[in-house]
């Protein structure tokens, strides 16, 4: 992305000759992309902002009533919002050790194995390909109190078993673990891509100076990898907020006692479970602002880290 403007400047302008028609040509190529982008992304964002200011229950005949910021107040004061905020924080905090820190040493190890690490890498990547629906359904099946294999295994070992999905704490832990399982190999792959870009001669030079592996890891690889680490961190934060929607919807529907709902699921609950479009839209605008802050933070930090480029 950084090179965009420089490269763009180097490109020739659209060729001269019948100038009026020529200027239109690129837009013919872009129209099939821009039309759906405006219709299904940018216009809905504006429409949502408008809907957040009215009261409406999705009935076509029903008139909408302008209520100003009342929907925002309604969302912010609700216990659902409090629960969703708390849970979102738990999802993100649990994600950092499981999805950001743990894959790093594993990636460094696979990197050190060279080609021999390929099998590990491929197997760890497989959960990325399996749909979240299937992961959730299989987990639901294994934890089933009557027929589940986890239940059977534990009773075979002589231990009793309570379905973790029945309690708020157990349910959120279950979703955290299965979402970590799903994204672990993908994050390993992201780290491997970062490691592959580190120049071997820098490592060789340090080694000639007598540096140990540990010093090379800490003084050279860790700093050079920091843009990747930061990218993985941001991507994982967004993933941990958004992608758990599917297991939440399939396994718990936000419960028990709002124990697993998060910002993304809350917005869905408001709009399509209670059919309170105004509050749903207000929650959506708040969520948009949160994602915007995360994205701007990412752009800012990535710009500052450029000096580590080799």
């Amino acid at each position: 992305m950084d090179g965009t403007t420089a490269v763009a400047a180097a490109r020739p302008p659209v060729r001269a000759g019948r100038p009026r028609f020529r200027a239109l040509v690129p837009w013919l190529y872009l129209a099939p992309l821009l039309a759906p982008l405006i219709l299904f992304v940018y216009w809905p964002l504006l429409h949502t902002a408008w809907l957040s200011l009215v009261r409406w229950n999705l009935q076509p005949g029903q008139a909408t009533e302008f209520v100003g910021l009342a929907n925002y107040a309604g969302v912010l004061e609700s216990s659902l919002f409090a629960d969703a905020s708390w849970n979102s924080m738990i999802y993100v905090l649990a994600a950092i050790p499981l999805k950001v820190l743990l894959p790093l040493p594993v990636a460094v190890f696979l990197w050190s194995l060279g080609r021999a690490g390929g099998t590990y890498r491929t197997i760890l990547f497989l959960p990325t390909l399996i749909s979240f629906v299937i992961v959730a359904v299989v987990v639901g099946w294994m934890l089933n109190p009557i027929a589940g294999h986890v239940t059977a295994l534990l009773s075979w070992l002589g231990m009793g078993f309570a379905n973790p999905l029945a309690t708020p704490d157990g349910a959120i832990i279950t979703i955290i673990v299965l979402s970590a399982w799903k994204v672990f190999g993908f994050n390993v792959l992201l780290y491997l891509a970062g490691l592959a870009s580190i120049r071997r001669d820098l490592i060789e030079a340090m080694r000639l100076d007598g540096a140990s592996d540990w010093v090379i890891l800490r003084r050279l690889i860790w700093p050079l990898l920091s843009p990747t680490t930061f990218f993985v961190l941001i991507a994982t934060v967004i993933f941990s907020l958004q992608q758990v929607f599917t297991p939440i919807d399939i396994l718990t529907e936000g419960g028990p006692e709002n124990g697993t709902t998060n910002f993304f699921y809350m917005v869905y609950q408001l709009a399509f479970r209670t059919f309170d479009i105004g509050r749903g839209a207000a929650g959506t605008v708040l969520l948009f602002l949160l994602l915007l802050v995360i994205t701007l933070l990412k752009l800012r930090v990535l710009e500052k880290r450029v000096h580590y480029q080799q």
Binding site: A8, R15, W27, L37, S131, F132, H149, W181, L287
Partner: protein
């Protein structure tokens, strides 16, 4: 292959191998259990064994005989095919314009494209839901396909590939009288083969595995996709786990098969796509 960049000491190597093996088992054991259960007769369903002593196809028979799974497969296959073809056509044309020409508005258009990458479905669901209601598109393929035509990451990825293509070849073709569309079709695309193949597969997997959007716009059984069907099984035939695991096996099989065809390229494309669930 050059020598290993870092050589861990022996105890570390052993420890890491154990960790990696444990992680791989956490992936492979549940997969084996699912596939094994799909072939288990009713009296072995609750056994802990990975593979049945009397394998049977009865679960698949019930899956296809007593449920609409075949129809769900057809809905998923057809909408995935149509949607990915349209997504590719749109992305190729746009990427070509961005890679080839600099014109008034191109920077803004590109910024709009990149910006859309950061907008998940849940942020635009309410207005699109209303739109689909007004158009009467619930329970149709159109509702699955049309709101998802623009794929910004595909545009971004293809533009990268196209920009590294020698421009002289395209210019030479245009000197010889070929229009820009001919240059794209005859010169650019044939050289993008592997990248396009991997992108096609990643887009297809993405569509095949999608849950949120179909869940929002599909209600009737006749329009269900495979993912929606699997979820319904969990809720409706709660006790027929054999058929459920047969369905899970069949729903995952195409994705895994396709992955092993183009493994390395697909992993690279997934990395480039930023984040795919």
């Amino acid at each position: 292959m050059t020598s290993a960049p870092i050589t861990f000491g022996r105890p570390w190597r052993v420890a890491f191998h154990i960790i990696c093996l444990a992680l791989c088992l956490s992936v492979l054991v549940p997969m084996a259990l699912v596939v094994g259960t799909a072939f288990k007769p009713a009296n072995e369903i609750y056994d802990l064994s990975l593979w049945p002593s009397q394998p049977t196809l009865a679960n698949f028979g019930r899956l296809f005989g007593e449920t609409e799974f075949l129809l769900y497969m057809w809905n998923s296959l057809a909408t995935t095919f149509l949607r990915v073809v349209a997504q590719l056509a749109i992305a190729i044309l746009a990427a070509y314009a961005f890679a080839r020409w600099h014109f008034t508005g191109s920077t803004l258009s590109f910024a709009l494209t990149l910006g859309a990458m950061m907008i998940p479905h849940q942020l635009v669901m309410i207005p699109i839901y209303i739109m689909i209601a007004e158009l009467g598109w619930f329970d149709t393929w159109a509702a699955l396909i049309i709101p998802n035509l623009a794929m910004p990451f595909a545009v971004f990825l293809l533009r990268q590939h196209m920009m590294s293509f020698p421009k002289e070849l395209l210019d030479a073709a245009e000197m010889d009288g070929a229009g820009p569309l001919t240059a794209l079709w005859r010169i650019m695309l044939p050289n993008l083969g592997p990248a396009l193949a991997a992108l096609t597969i990643v887009l297809s997997i993405d569509c095949w595995n999608e849950y949120f959007w179909p869940m929002l716009v599909i209600d009737s059984p006749g329009a269900r996709t495979v993912q929606l069907g699997i979820r319904e099984f969990l809720e409706e035939n709660f006790e027929d786990f054999g058929a459920l695991m047969a369905g899970v096996t069949i729903a995952s099989l195409p994705v895994l098969l396709v992955f092993f065809l183009l493994q390395r390229r697909i992993m690279e494309t997934f990395v480039a796509s930023g984040l795919k669930g």
